[in-house]
Symmetry: C2
Amino acid sequence: MLAFEKLISIQKTNNTRLCIGLDPQIEKIPKGLAKDTLGILEFNKIIINCTWKFVCAYKINFAFYEQFGSKGIEIIEKTLEIIPKNIVTIADGKRADIGNTSKAYAKAFYEHFKFDCATLNPFLGIDSLEPFFEYPDKLNFVLICTSNPGASDFQKLEINDAKLYEIILKRLLARFDQSNLGFVVGATNEKEFSLIRDQTNEHFILLPGIGTQGGNLGKILFLNNNKNLIVNVSRDIIFASSEKDFEQKIIERTRFYYENLTLVDV
Amino acid sequence: MLAFEKLISIQKTNNTRLCIGLDPQIEKIPKGLAKDTLGILEFNKIIINCTWKFVCAYKINFAFYEQFGSKGIEIIEKTLEIIPKNIVTIADGKRADIGNTSKAYAKAFYEHFKFDCATLNPFLGIDSLEPFFEYPDKLNFVLICTSNPGASDFQKLEINDAKLYEIILKRLLARFDQSNLGFVVGATNEKEFSLIRDQTNEHFILLPGIGTQGGNLGKILFLNNNKNLIVNVSRDIIFASSEKDFEQKIIERTRFYYENLTLVDV
């Protein structure tokens, strides 16, 4: 099954566009869990066990595991084993390199870890992304406009009459198939989101930047066609409490987002 | 000691600008070595043992290890242990993300693995790079103009009277100190290299794309001021032979580059 179809299917089954980002930070691990990589695995297990009915995907941000070296990467491998098979998995690594190296990254994400999707950085050009698109069943989310203040530095520079991110978007749309191509658009970019959405009605957009990063979910949901959208929330859900009641608080925050992210308005 | 100073020191000691890229590929591991991660570690050991007197740095490209998951990352950890302490280590991951995540990547490279240098991707903006520059003794090589054909897609787009890579260069020079800031410029970009070198006489430039990728080393060395340059060669050295004579062939190829990369003309 194509990752694209798997995503549509699980969004219908669980009636939600919510994705939870599993981005552990040792210093924020709640009381009662070990402050080490085993504690992180235990934390991930609890999060998955109490949220899997309310999400369409889990996003794993490699940085938060890579900081513990091989032991951290082992936690990614073990976490993937406990995610229910009908839920989509996203490797958030924002990788891409010259051909030979990109091929190895694609092999890592899609053959070793067996993720359904990955996030990619387009700076090195179209050929740097191609190895990821050689996996016909996978869905690649390419960074278009990110949620940080620095997104203005280069992504929004004006080139003739278009912004850099628009040029990138156009090149991607011309080159890759819709079922393999998605976009990352930070929720703090409301104006840009509308522009991008208008050109990509059938593509999936992964929307981070809600919650802690200050993106206004309501505005984006009302202003735009919301078909094929995945809304990622990480910190605002997983670190809902540092106390022993954390599981209950995670469920409460998940339900809050879940109720705002059902498919009824599509 | 600053990584910047360590690099100047080892370049003088070993009288070379040569960096060897440890980019293993299972299918190219020479005869006599196991075709698995342990074989890769053994291969790295042999390469390091027979080349460390002829290099200033080893560059470790994460993609080629990440494709084996946690076991591959463990090989990075073990390889770092056997690199002589006076030789510079470069984490080639081309990372960068929004602040929180970049902080975790910087922690990975500089606190967990303890690399001297890292390669970074500037697409997400200046703030995405800052966490790496919070390590005052480290040297960060930011991608400016890469060696692949796709470098023309976005990096060389014209914005007013400057190319995107020139705008990025200018912003970086204005923001970060010379002792922490280096640049990656692919050797296939001869014209761009001259332009960049003119503005960055005192900064280190990491030059990949020599050898297999077709970059013309001689031209770049003659046309430009060659101070503070690191020339990386990977495949053309490490895969010099797939036969049992591979150690001898690696030494021969290393010596070839070494003799062309001494410091006499600086």
